[in-house]
Amino acid sequence: MNRPPSATRYNQRIPHMRARTFSGRGLGWLSSFMLVTVFLPSFLSASPLSDTARQLAHKIAAASGPGAFALEFTNRSSLDEKSAREVRGALEAQLHVEGVHIAKPEQATGLVEVVLSESLRNYVWTAVIAIGSDEKKVALVSLPRPPTGAAVAPVMPIAVKTALLFAQEQPMLDVALVEMPGGLRLIVLGSDAVSIYDRQGASPSGNSIGRWELETSLPITHARPFPRDLRGRLLQRRDHLFDVYLPGIVCHSTPNAVAPLNLACSETDDPWPLTPDDSVRAFYASTRNFFTGALSPGIGKISNVPSFYAAAAFQRTNYTLWAFAAVDGSLHLVDGVTDQAIRGASLKWGSDLAAVRSNCGAGTQLVVSESDDTAHETLRDIGHDSLLAFEIPDRDPVAVSAAAEFDGQITALWPDSAGNGATAVVRKKDTGWYEAYRVSLTCGN
């Protein structure tokens, strides 16, 4: 939900400035000396905030000329107090260098009112310079605001463990880590391309994980429009690097031995694999966001289930149990003979699920998305989805983990090719960026 801008905030007076205000001439000299010798070197270090503060000081000095000025400094922007102090420090230091001395109002020949503000995209800092009764002069500077992303969601210490893999502004449908000649690569499936990233700056000791840099981007062309809630699947293959499944489209990469890597796409309604070994496939509705329910081949005697968003398989002693998150909100458990539907208030699951092998508890758990539905009912903030792990000991799901909450909506959840983890893509509530997480389960909690 959108909210009005936050209330105006004013900085606390800065201790060393307060000392200046109440000091006499001797102390004023001393504090000026301290300012130049102690604070100036740090402010001179390259920082966009400090650089821009110095630009503003330069403009103020050009408008005011040298002399003694009172300074009023107000932070009405989203800059935190530490940053505002940095700006003020750099501003005062540069003003001092340019011959503008900060003085008490009764000793000043003019007043400089500095306001740190911001627009939609930029920090905007204004200075109104008043000298005597003359017309006021205005100085303006700006610098781009960084995205207002909050810190990465903390790793949950209990059972569901999440680790941030990658973040970008454009939607991500699926992500995979792949060993390729030359090292590890991150493959990102977007709506119009598969992008491959190489890790740069990683140290062999593992002390530095480095950062991902785009190596190549393979475009995906399609004639038919994609549905709005676009979903896609990235599957690693043994005989070639990967396949891509999108609504109405299947793409195959060239074998990884062939350079350069290419992607061959064709429009087809072929069923999507539900498991890494392709043992069961399901047809995807090319203009919607769900599987139609038609299976190929079927699970035992059952070849049709209700339309569903996601499916997961558990290996039992004598059979495989399948769980389907149906479009109508129910959970269907299919063992090859029966199709058992579970509905009701006790089942507050989301639309996505994935089987993850943990080798603890029952060995394999179901990781399930869950929306903050109660928030909607109580008018609290919505859009904080979470992941929970469940087991189905006797066809009745039992939660075995605490919720790992994300600061946004889970837009994708797919099991990885090895089956011991999953990939979750989250659209951040505050920035709208997409973050891909590797999800795994840990024991002993």
Binding site: V138, G344, K348, S371
Partner: protein, 480 residues
């Protein structure tokens, strides 16, 4: 499985599905109520703010613009997938998206789009060239992308006989009763993907009070709210308040008898905006002395909105126009529920410094209390549009495609204000409220309903069972 477990499952299954789905559902009809009662699906140049919001929101569901502006104020592809301009911003080229069709099945070809835009802007030379259109203009168009993103530039085909417009957007017109009712159906062929809901039903001409009651009774899903009421006080709805996108201001018509700049400046200094904001606007909006709100420019603090009665009296003493001898007639829009009270409060402030202001809806007006829409996040575009609505001269910016510099924008706004033809009072937001079954949607921060990933076409309904159609409501049966 043990028999008791099957019994338990069977019992649970009878409770009905109350799952917390995270993925959008398809289906259902969204019901919307709006204030204005337009006789045509067209956005008139002299639209009131209420008409502007209602029609621009509605038309944006039917049509698309060449580009759109995202939440960060950056241009993004829509019908155009790429664009470029020359250094002077006089010549622009837009590469159009392939395969897009109008709702009537005809291709949204460069020729068709060029014809629509050319008809909207006689001063532009719009031509179709291969898979692109070019736009040329003698005065440079540095803010063309922001201009093209405005609802008035939606690519809509219109018929001379008053039939509803035909667009390329996510919904097509299924039924239109002028001034009363519009039914939109999902466009299965939408290039952005089919909307999640099957239909949108919009009832026009509903007073805000009636809208609030209907929302509380579950007879509608989305309504407009007064910003001062948007506190989420209703138990089963969520309110959304935009960034300030309207300006409430006093404007002096050309033939105003209050023509001495010092008298006007004294009036500006006499107005105490804080009590008006806290009492009459119930905290909504921001006191303003600038045309553009701070979120657009970042420098509104430079223009002081502080009242200063003492300085006002000094200015009056120097005025060529002795204030006691002049009674200024202040008019307002009677359709604006707050306007009369605000006008009377301004008159009171004016009298306190010695300016006689009479609030009146008849006779020659010297001052007009107006509310104007600031339609674009691009400050240059909004400043130009505000100037047009306020009757001020069009601002002149430097002609570069990279946008106007901060200094240039500041100087331009300042020069508009220094003419003392307008006294900005408040920047006001717009508000909407949606019922509990509307999911994944909140209006974008600028009040529109069509931004990328925030469109009405992107929301979905969590409960498809309890949709009472308009024909089922009391007093509506047989109306269509």
């Amino acid at each position: 499985m043990r028999p008791i477990a099957y019994l338990l499952l069977a019992a649970i299954s009878l409770l009905g599905a109350v799952a917390a789905e995270t993925r959008p559902h398809y289906g259902g009809t969204l019901r919307v109520m709006l204030q204005s009662a337009p006789s045509a699906l067209d956005l008139p140049a002299n639209a009131t703010p209420a008409e502007y919001w209602d029609l621009s929101r509605t038309l944006s569901l039917i049509g698309n613009t060449l580009v759109r502006i995202d939440a960060q104020g950056r241009p993004q592809p829509a019908l155009a997938v790429a664009w470029q301009s020359d250094a002077s911003a006089s010549h622009w080229q837009f590469t159009l998206r392939r395969g897009v069709k109008f709702h009537d099945g005809s291709a949204a070809s460069p020729a068709a789009i060029a014809q629509i835009l050319g008809a909207l802007h006689s001063g532009w030379n719009v031509r179709a060239v291969a898979d692109s259109i070019t736009i040329e203009s003698a005065p440079p168009l540095p803010s063309l992308l922001a201009e093209l993103a405005l609802p008035r530039n939606l690519a809509l085909k219109r018929n001379a006989n008053g039939a509803p417009p035909v667009g390329t957007g996510p919904f097509l017109v299924a039924e239109w009763q002028p001034s009363q009712f519009l039914k939109l159906a999902a466009n299965e062929e939408s290039w952005e993907g089919r909307p999640f809901v099957d239909a949108v039903e919009i009832e026009f001409g509903k007073a805000q009070r009636d809208q609030a009651i209907a929302l509380e009774l579950g007879k509608t899903d989305v309504i407009e709210e007064a910003p001062q009421s948007a506190s989420g006080s209703q138990p089963h709805s969520t309110s959304s308040v935009s960034l300030p996108t309207e300006l409430l201001a006093l404007v002096f018509p050309v033939n105003s008898r209050a023509n001495d700049p010092r008298l006007r400046e004294a009036l500006a200094l006499a107005i105490n905006r804080k009590p008006i904001q806290s009492v009459l606007l119930k905290g909504a909006g921001e006191p303003a002395a600038s045309i553009l709100p701070n979120w657009m420019t970042g420098f509104s603090a430079v223009f002081s909105a502080q009242a200063n009665a003492q300085e006002a009296r000094i200015l009056l003493a120097d005025s060529h126009q002795p204030a006691p001898n002049l009674t200024c007639e202040l008019s307002y829009d009677p359709r604006d529920p707050q306007a009369q009270l605000i006008a009377e409060r301004i008159a009171l402030n004016a009298r306190e410094v010695g300016i006689t202001v009479q609030v009146s809806l008849s006779g020659a007006e010297d001052i007009r209390l107006v509310r104007v829409v600031l339609p674009s996040p691009d400050p240059a575009t909004s400043l130009g549009e505000a100037a047009r609505q306020l009757g001020l001269p069009q601002p002149a910016f430097s002609a570069t495609a990279g946008g106007d510099t901060l200094e240039d924008l500041y100087q331009t706004e300042r020069s508009l204000l220094e003419a003392h033809a307008v006294i900005p009072l408040f920047h006001l937001p717009v508000a909407t409220a949606e019922g509990a079954r509307v999911r994944d949607w909140s209006p974008e921060r600028r009040g529109q309903w069509s931004a990328s990933r925030l469109s009405l076409a992107d929301f979905w309904l969590s409960d498809l069972r309890s949709t009472a159609s308009r024909a089922d409501l009391p007093g509506q049966a047989g109306s269509r």
